[in-house]
Amino acid sequence: MPTDVQAVTSARRRSATKVGRRILKHWEYYLLVLVPMAYIVIFKYVPMVGAQIAFRDFNVIEGMWGSPWVGLREFTRFFESPSFRRLIENTFSISLTRLLLGFPAPIILALALNEISQRSFKRSVQMVTYAPHFISTVVMASMIILFLNPRLGLFGVLMRAAGVQPVNYLAVASHFKFVYALSDIWQHAGYGAIIYMAALAAINPELYEAARIDGASRLQKIIHVDIPGIMPVMVILLILEFGEIMEVGFEKIYLLQNPVNISASEIIQTYVYKIGIINASFSFASAVGLFNSVINFILLVGVNAAARRISSNSLW
């Protein structure tokens, strides 16, 4: 027995000195990561600790640690507020519309591009479709507003040319989610296709060979070789998309909001900004924000677990 204990402690000591030596040998690495880690702690982890003001009655004078605890008061206030249902509905309907329409778009584009063997045509489609990705959110939102303006916008011009009375889709609340989702596709589908193009290029050529020998048509080849080939990438990106559900480009939505569409365009994040920063009710807004983060986290972890079970592809 004593020898056993001795052996264990000496082994532990040996491994401890080994760790010590490993740290000492590369002490400069720790110097290098110091500033970046300080950033992560200050701007990522401190706010996580700061999220506790959701459970307090925060006031600036007493500060975060001095303000009295109120438990779940702010949360109940949010759940019972008349806007709760509308916010949840809007957040989910906008992001699910975006997901449903936006997720397949880059895949379809990549599969179509993959069929083209003429390089110049393929190149120009790729060049042009990537470009809008680099347009800023503000410019994108103003383009949407300008285009949908019935008086001078592109849609106005086109609709009048077609002999139809122009409609401002941004002034129709029920259309908001489509305006949002379709403009997102316009802006990002090309860029999103890059990753699928890479996955398609990595498919084993022997599979195409085999498909050809079996007499597969182009469409059959897409269904039986291309799609299974990019499936792992698809699953990963789908999981990541679910991680964005609660976040939905709120910066863009905030810019597209107007008094007419607000009933369909107010989402949790824009609400947090307005209540918290414009109206300065910090505790309430933190509670709403924390609720949002938690739902998001659960969604991501849940979808990841489901994906791992069903398809054996997952983020972790």
Partner: protein, 310 residues
Amino acid sequence: MVGTVEQTGRALPRRRMRIRESRVDRVFLTLVVIFLTFVLISVLYPLIFIVSASFSSTSAVIGGRVWLLPVEPSLLGYQAVFEHRSVLIGYANSAVYTFFGTIINVVLTVCIAFPLSRSDFFGRNFLMMTLVFTMLFSGGLIPLYLVVLKLGLMNTRWAMLLPEALVVWFVIIARTYFQTSIPDELAEAASIDGCRDTYFVWAVVLPLSKPIVAVLTLMYAVAHWNRYFHALMFLSSERLYPLQIVLRNILILNQTQEMAVEVSEELMRQGLADLMKFSLIVVASAPVLALYPFVQRYFIKGIMIGSLKG
């Protein structure tokens, strides 16, 4: 790499396939070409429309007569844009934020990504988990706002530089790159020769990593140039506003009171304000889009590296 293997591997069968291309396949291919042409036009057309409208006359724009090429070409819109003082201030501010912000970003990213890519760096899994967790969960907008407030950064230029000093996703991309392109043996050999780790990063890693530094620089720079929400939250004085905030005020909130005095007539003013929006969009997007053809391959490379292990 993959591309060349695939090309040589498929060169022969391809030629034979063309002979056997059935009618169904030809129809299918035609449909694909039609589809892609439609995609091409629907992405390109709005862009052309904006540029054309920006070079047209006021009456052509408000009359809705522009549909493809500039009508009654004029530079009035651009003149109005450059007479707008806040646009110029915004331009200068954005340039400053982009320049210094990107330097901070790239330096910090390399500083943390390189040690994380070394297998003999004790504690790297723990640090990596610490980083990745911030991608899954965040404290939210308000706590971040309070941190910035507490640090006294509110309404200073630092508020545009520090809260986004690092993007975890880009750290992962850089780490993956270092892992695959700087072998541990190289670092080992250098340290046996008495080379310090920091000097190794500076003298060996950086020169060997020009592609990833280019990718990081571009991705960060575009993000800085296009960012507006932080400015909205953290800045209140106009002389600090980046271009995107100025754009929002003019394009979305229709604040054009600063307009040149000579154009006093209300109707004329409204028309010019509309025309100016198109010119402003072009002016604001020009720096990024002008660079785009030259740098797009770096972005593609960035995505590829990111997807290696993602």
